[in-house]
Symmetry: C2
Subunit: 467 residues, 2 copies
């Protein structure tokens, strides 16, 4: 424990109680933008930047004993309003716990502190001749700890699974200050309960993740990428089934963009379109190039499906530069966000229901906002769609506008038994809608776990559900 | 709730309290062998064979309110003494909840009751043109519910992960009788805590799994299998690294047998050896045959490593019959068990420590039992070794003999920071050794979870740890 003054802690004044920790005060905190999606200034009583697990434990132990609310911050890329704080809150930022402790290519593991930025780790792992399977648009700012807390998905889930599948070991601090060190390095370990599951995907409600052991894969080497245009969703479904079956795990990504999305990001002043605009669907498919025989397998898939009339048009990237240009069309949706408000949704549902679902959302939304725009892309092999709803000139950013958008998305979803969040989580933004995807018994069990691990309810209070 | 008599329940007489459930009495129970590894008769007060989740809930609700210990039984293939019961216990067997409720090849899911036998499901899934990734030696008797409760591994983990990675949704009954239905069918769902993780790999301590949604994969089609002989462990490590990198997910299994194991199962009267005996190591490697180009990739791996001197000798299966003969050498270890006692261990540890570890175990064991035998095989790419220790003529099955074997295995393991169970779990057999792999804080947190979900401590009492 670092220098601890009991009387100061008693008054809930954590910075005074723990003077050895690096703290930011209210004015310094105000210089920070709340999140990527929310430009307003952060507000909080104080922000701790611990450099050790012991410092994290000290903050939580005192906060628990005094009932002081604490919010954990990683890269603040949340899409679900999970990092906003109030004037009385303490922020625990992991930004200074950002060391890569070990990369071991032989055993295929990386050991990192939670504050490491995803892209930083991706690059370090690549330098060691290995591959970190996690990849997503926010790579430049999101942190591994945040990726764990939200069970991040992204563009390689099809092949490697979500973050939960990549985490071998973990160290976390319970809200009451106990350090749970489960820094397992083995691919298989059934020696007692797999406690790390309590912290993965629970949005920071049950503890603060401080260190992580990640599994690495052999370097995938060169990749082949194609951009394809398709005439209808049935063709998209047929192509993904063929790709999954014949390419198997050589298939790294299969991203589908609805035509309106592609057209918007490639409109004048936007990205150069790799294929002519105004097709109903675009698919970005990426494969691991084979050791011998190069990209033949992707090419034979494309040839077969062009001949069969499934693919209407297509182009294969001829260079790393072109590959990265193709991906920018998918990743870089700044133009979609140019005219706020734009509401972002992240749902999953059965493949066979996707087309009908998007049609229903579109109809309901356009009934309310005739000049609104609906933009959709997704990792459809994962059952995952991302929707951007923009009411256009008809709607300003009011609770009523958002409500109409929410209802368009979730009313249809509940009919198709979909999930209200595939990979972004619940945060504050979706908590009202949680009962669409989870039963009262499930929510009661979540509450029971929260009360067991965080009896004073100090950690990320009010996210996901109310205790 | 089925017909419930409060007074009978008050006396702990569950069969009388729930007469609508199918019960076996003490005499009928005695006809059952405890487990595959333990030929003694089962003993229990009564055995319930519920056919619905509601019946399971009724048993648990009454048991919780009266403090009646209940043990859940699936296929009783446990290797860790997890199904033995006492005269006062109630057994809850899922054997009659064995329906396959749905197989949907388009969405790639199967929905089953927990009592379905693994092989039965494998065959039904294959009939639907799909592939169930889980496979292990006990396939003919183990149940899906048991596979979930133990987070089963097996021969395809390298490519598909353990059971935890295959379970999309689940219905389970808490020890207090609440039904938690999380029958998610989506590959991705971050809508609140992933509660199924509480039941996967927790050896039945936190609830009874009743229904499961499993993810299926496209049919892998033909497979290529080779049996290889290698001169030293360094060659085994080099071959597995090459195979993982170049075959990637085309690699289905990579099984290593130490020479003594291979020699024992292929000795006179045993299986026909696909390769000459007395090599130091044998590798059984199985790949998914490519769509186009057949088995060329496995063949080129083999050619490259034969030329490079890594592989000393090898043979590729020329028919499905040969393939199955090769696998029998790996799977069918009856000859190893022929002269009891034989103690079975299941550990995981870093790849680079395996050879030294096996050497240390062998030395320690032979110091105690000079004519003892140590047989080893494993899924080494998963870091997983299975060890059979037979003291030979020097040891009868006494606590002292077992203790000596345990100490040989675990003393060395703790130095290499290995896990005492890679895939079999802890049960009663390994619980004394749990502190080798898990810290006091971790065990305290496991206890806290158990007390929260099972306050009367009725379910699988005494397995894994004491509450």
């Amino acid at each position: 424990m670092t220098g601890f003054s009991a009387s100061a802690a008693g008054a809930g004044k954590l910075p005074e109680a723990l003077p050895d920790i690096d703290w930011l005060d209210t004015d310094e905190i105000r210089l920070r933008q709340t999140s990527y999606w929310d430009a307003s200034s952060l507000t909080a009583r104080a922000l701790a930047r611990p450099t050790t697990t012991e410092e994290v434990a000290d903050v939580l132990r005192i906060a628990s004993s005094t009932g002081q609310p604490v919010f954990t911050h990683g890269g603040r890329t949340t899409c679900v309003d999970a990092v906003r704080t109030g004037a009385g809150d303490i922020i625990l930022s992991l930004e200074r716990m950002n060391r890569i402790l070990e990369i071991d290519p032989v055993e295929g593991i990386a050991v990192v502190e939670a504050g490491v930025v995803l892209q930083t780790l991706q690059e370090a792992v690549a330098q060691a001749g290995m591959f970190l399977p996690l990849d997503l648009g926010a790579r430049g700012t999101c942190t591994i700890g945040g990726n764990v807390a939200t069970n991040a998905g992204g563009v390689n889930v099809l092949r490697y699974g979500m973050m939960r599948n990549l985490v071998l070991g973990m160290e976390a601090v319970l809200p009451t200050g106990e350090v749970i060190s489960s820094m397992n390095r083995m691919l298989k370990n059934n020696s007692g309960f797999d406690l790390k599951q309590l912290f993965i995907g629970t949005e920071g409600l049950l503890g603060v993740v401080t260190k992580i052991v990640l599994r690495l894969e052999p370097d995938v080497g060169a990749r082949d990428v194609a951009m394809l245009a398709l005439e209808d969703f049935d063709a998209v479904l047929k192509l993904q089934a063929d790709a999954k079956r014949t390419l198997a795990a050589r298939l790294l990504s299969f991203e589908v963009m609805w035509g309106a999305y592609y057209d918007a990001v490639t409109a004048d002043g936007g990205h150069r379109p790799p294929l002519p605009r105004e097709a109903p669907f675009y698919v970005l498919v990426e494969t691991v190039a084979a050791e011998a025989g190069g990209g033949e397998t992707l090419l034979s898939l494309l040839e077969r499906n062009l001949e069969g009339g499934i693919i209407a048009d297509g182009v294969v990237a001829g260079s790393e530069r072109e590959r990265s240009d193709f991906w920018r069309v998918r990743d870089d949706f700044e133009r979609i966000l140019a005219e706020p408000p734009v509401y972002l949704y992240d749902v999953s549902l059965p493949l066979r229901s996707m087309e009908a679902y998007v049609g229903e959302v579109e109809k309901a939304f356009r009934d309310a906002f005739p000049d609104g725009a609906l933009h959709v892309f997704g990792h459809i092999c994962d059952g995952n769609l991302h929707l951007f709803l923009a009411p256009g000139t008809a709607g300003s950013d009011t609770p009523g506008t958002r409500r109409t958008a929410d209802e368009a998305v979730y009313t249809a979803l509940s009919r198709f038994e979909g999930a209200i969040s595939a990979e972004h989580g619940i945060g504050r933004e979706k908590k009202e809608w949680l009962p669409i995807s989870r039963s009262p018994e499930e929510i009661a069990l979540m509450r029971r776990l929260k009360r067991t691990l965080d009896p004073a309810n100090i950690l990320n209070r009010g996210l996901v559900f109310d205790v």
